[in-house]
């Protein structure tokens, strides 16, 4: 190790819960020799290596792509989903954001609709069930169409993409004081409402996805707007306004 890169050490308070049925608790750990340029997940990997060497159970957490596009990772760091930096996933968060020697509390994304599976892993299949009820198009979309073959303007495509950027990580639910899934559901509804392929199921989609969202036990929205700040993809609460408009529209069409 050269002088140029000084490693850091941290005190960690991590939520440990053996399985869904058990009650969990925060357990204190110390981790040393952390490269400030490593990601938060790499720091947890590093901790787990030391735990395994000591014969202890490693901390269970989810991750997949580790480049911010899959939505698998996500923990509450010092009370904020995906940590202190806005518009970033946990895997993109670097340890240089945390001063040397500080205490970091790591807890799962918390909501009754996201039951804890183990430690920091929660079951987000409630999102999948909401998608199953309406987050699809039944026209044959085929392979990627030729450019300009579909009458979709750049503005429309960009607008739809802003909503489609949602990776379904669940930070909106975790950040919401009410554990509401309105931003997630709003983003899915807006994405498909804008594009012509989604038009066939438009009315049914709004009603069905809201019905499933409620059935999963998510809370209602109070327009705190915390979700937009926590969303790694900066999905706007404009999508929640769209959700309300689409639901109201469906009231007169169904």
């Amino acid at each position: 190790m050269t002088d140029a890169k000084k490693t850091r050490s941290y005190k960690l308070r991590i939520w440990r819960q053996p399985d869904a049925a058990s009650t969990g608790r925060l357990v204190d750990y110390e981790v040393a020799d952390v490269d400030p340029d490593s990601s938060f997940l790499e720091m947890l990997d590093h901790l787990n290596e030391t735990l395994v060497k000591k014969g202890e159970e490693p901390v269970a957490f989810e991750s997949d792509c580790r480049e911010g596009i899959c939505g698998a990772c996500g923990v509450c760091i010092d009370g904020r989903p995906h940590g202190p930096v806005t518009h970033l996933t946990t895997c993109g968060l670097r340890m240089r954001e945390f001063g040397d020697g500080v205490t970091i509390t790591v807890e799962p994304f918390r909501a009754n609709a996201f039951p804890v599976v183990k430690d920091l892993i929660v079951d987000r299949s409630s999102f999948d069930r909401v998608i199953e009820r309406g987050g699809y198009v039944s026209v044959n979309a085929g392979s990627a169409p030729d450019a300009n073959a579909l009458p979709i303007s750049t503005d429309m495509a960009e607008d739809a993409m802003d909503s489609a950027a949602c990776i379904g990580c669940g930070a909106c639910v975790a950040s919401c004081p009410n554990a509401s899934a309105s931003l997630f559901v709003g983003a899915k509804i807006r994405q498909m409402k804008i594009l012509p392929q989604g038009d066939v199921e438009r009315t049914r989609r709004a009603l069905a996805m809201v019905e499933q969202m409620d059935a999963e036990g998510f809370g209602d929205c109070s327009n705190h707007g915390e979700c937009e700040a926590a969303c790694p993809k900066a999905i706007s609460i404009e999508n929640i306004a769209t959700l309300r408009r689409e639901y109201l529209r469906a009231a007169f069409r169904s």
Binding site: W15, L26, C76, D78, G79, R80, P81, P84, T86, T105, E107, P108, R110, A111, N112, A113, R133, S175, P177, N178, A179, S180, S182, R204, L207, A208, V210, E211, M213, D214, G217, F218, G219, D220, C221, S222, N223, H224, G225, E226, E228, A229, A230, S236, I237, E238, I240, A241, T242, L243, R244, R245, E246, Y247, L248, A250, A251, S254
Partner: protein, 228 residues
Amino acid sequence: MSTPRFQLWSSVGKKLLTGITGLALMGFIVTHLVGNLNLFVGSEAFNGYTEALHQLGGLLVVAELGLAGLFLLHAVSAILVWRDNSGARSVQNTVVASKGSPSKQTVFSQSMIVTGSVLLVFVVLHVAQFRFGIFGGLDYTTTLDGKEVRDLYRLVVETFKNPAWVVVYVGVMVLLGGHLRHGFWSAFQSVGLLDPMLRPLAYSAGAVFAVAIAVGFLVMPIYLFLFA
């Protein structure tokens, strides 16, 4: 799966209901404030205004019942939202913090159920006090243009000679301002009217609206206490 239907008491239905009734109630509040400005003009202006309202007869009763319905719907839908929310996260994390801007989470957004509950009790008290005169004063009359009319001005002035009432009304109006700070822009968002262009405008306008309404109402008891 059964065919999904629009449900007024679904999560989104309740938001639409809270938003629409909220917008209507804000319209009422502005009307009420403008009408009450007659208090600054004096006895004849204010009693003339209240007498003009009474001349509406049946229309006034319809308006009163409509307003009572609006308050009730607004309160019931908001209380149901609050109830659903308190059941959506049984286990809280030990550390909870806001990520800051662009979050609109403030002490005002968090205290809507508290400020709203106080306002609901206040509305009942306020109507009982001045409309139905439960603390007396219902029999006060005066002569206006040769006609005997109710002297509500006298009741209002006598009420606010008591500093305790001044404190109660001023306190509740401060809470009303807090309720409107989140409620104004939130109502427009709840009915789906805000896009990224309009949202900052509505949010800023909400601050102006909240202060204007709260100050507009709370100077009345203070003015009457000091000068009437």
